[in-house]
């Protein structure tokens, strides 16, 4: 099992007491694709970040079990964590505009991430970078190598991010809203590319998003989170038969091109959902 999470809790100390953002999340991932879906504030990003221990200083993580690739995340020292981050698990964030270095050419950035984990000469690294850019289907990778991030489009920037994350051959890819900053056509392209690369390389994927139908196209399983808990976990193919009112609500409140509704149903929340 690549990822094993049992009863994960993340809490923050505030002036008025402790706030529990993640309240007892459990799941396991092998070499498969898991989608985590929920509204903002549902704790989906924190769950993924807790796995890499990339949380703010004041966050407190507890869990019955939190392991990645056989390493106990709760007990590992910083050195061991550095060996995991990037190398064993790649992290793709929402907006390439903010996650790429604006004053470094794309080729050098990809080469740097390759060299950091694999060693080798500068020249080898640059060749590897060209190859990686080619793998994420950038046409004319040599030309793109010499460009700066502001000179490429959002979709291209996100491809570059994916290329950087793939450089050390990680076992798991965590994508936190990788396409929310992109428009619909590019969105589908990027998700298809990610799905394809993950399947081809036999990696695991955690795809975090707020778009439930979209995620179901690119994942094997979907976990629906609300207010720090997993409300329902179901296989992507059976989304239409979802049982939980929250999942149904999320699906219903989307406007639809083919099934027009005069008025969109608004999600009504039930306090009983949070009593386990």
């Amino acid at each position: 099992m690549l990822v094993d999470i049992q009863n994960l809790r993340v809490s923050f100390a505030t002036r008025t007491g402790t706030f529990e953002a993640v309240r007892g999340v459990s799941f396991q991932i092998g070499t498969e694709k898991l989608g985590i879906v929920g509204e903002s504030g549902s704790g989906k990003s924190l769950t993924a970040r807790a796995l890499m221990r990339l949380l703010p200083q004041n966050a407190r993580i507890t869990a019955d079990r939190l392991s990645f690739d056989g390493v106990d995340i709760l007990k590992a020292d910083e050195r061991a964590m550095r060996g995991l981050r990037g190398k064993r698990a790649g992290f793709i964030l929402q907006d390439p505009k903010y996650s790429l270095n604006p004053v470094m050419t794309i080729g050098r950035q990809v080469a740097e991430s390759w060299r950091q984990h694999k060693g080798g000469s500068r020249k080898e690294a640059l060749e590897a970078a060209v190859d990686l850019l080619d793998q994420v289907r950038i046409r004319d990778p040599r030309r793109v190598c010499d460009l700066y991030p502001h000179e490429v489009s959002g979709g291209m920037g996100q491809r570059v991010m994916i290329a950087m994350m793939l450089a050390p051959d990680p076992a798991l890819l965590i994508a936190d809203e990788p396409t929310s900053a992109l428009d619909a056509t590019v969105q589908a392209e990027i998700l298809r590319l990610m799905e394809d690369l993950v399947s081809k390389r036999g990696m695991g994927l955690i795809l975090i998003s707020h778009d439930l139908p979209l995620v179901s196209h690119f994942c094997d399983r979907v976990a629906v989170m609300y207010s720090g808990r997993v409300m329902e976990e179901l296989s992507a193919g059976t989304l239409a038969q979802a049982k939980h009112p929250y999942t149904k609500g999320l699906l219903n409140c989307l406007p639809s091109l083919t099934h027009p509704k005069p008025r969109l149903p608004v999600l009504s929340r039930d306090a009983a959902w949070l009593q386990s």
Binding site: E39, S40, S153, G154, L182, D183, A184, T185, V186, A188, H210, D211, L212, P213, L214, S216, H217, A236, G237, L239, A240, G249, L250, L251, C253, L254, P255, S256, L257, T258, P260, K261, R263, L264, P265, V266, L267
Partner: protein, 246 residues
Amino acid sequence: MIEVEQLRVRFGDNEVVKGVSLNVPAGGSFGIVGESGSGKSTVLRALSGLNGAWTGRIAIDGESVGPRRDKAFFRKVQMVFQDPYGSLHPRQTIDRILSEPLLVHGMDNIERRIETVLAEVALPNAVRFRYPHQLSGGQRQRVAIARALIAEPEVLLLDEPTSALDVSVQAEILNLLADLRERRNLTYILVSHNLAVVSHLCPTVGVMLGGQMVEVISAEDLRAGKTQHPHTSELRALSVDLEEPA
């Protein structure tokens, strides 16, 4: 209400909008869809007076307007932006944000107007003396809509008003926009890359590609797949494909 003829916008040597024409009747609502870089937001910015470097003809309410607009125009036409985090002043209270358009236009009864408009966008009165960072994304977008409404405009220009929001909040905002249009007989132009959102709110949709409006289609024809231009068919196919759960 809104007439645009042969609108062209150029940034340096790069022509971004290449002769776009559109017509929206009073109380109507027109949607513009297209990929990023197709020039859809640029059309909106030229219409709103945020960008003066355009040629062609723009008329609001039968009156041609130039690159520079008068005060009456800015009262008549208001805009709501994509990012509710970036479009509100972080150091002004909601009360201050909402009273600014009233002060600019010399309108009276500030107290009453703010209370009414907050009720209209379904925000509690307690929000009035909070700062934007104390509100959620959906509440902030409601404040942005309230700010646009408070000067009693006739036209609302909406630039991706829901793309930064959760789907559950998006539903609430879209319902709110539909109600407001009915109640105040507003005219909308909505720009979005989401075909489902646009066709939900707008009976007529214009499709932009490379600075040109390649097709103007009714939402019903779009739903039924009676598209003329290959780009429209492409956008529709993708939208239909991704909207159904797998």
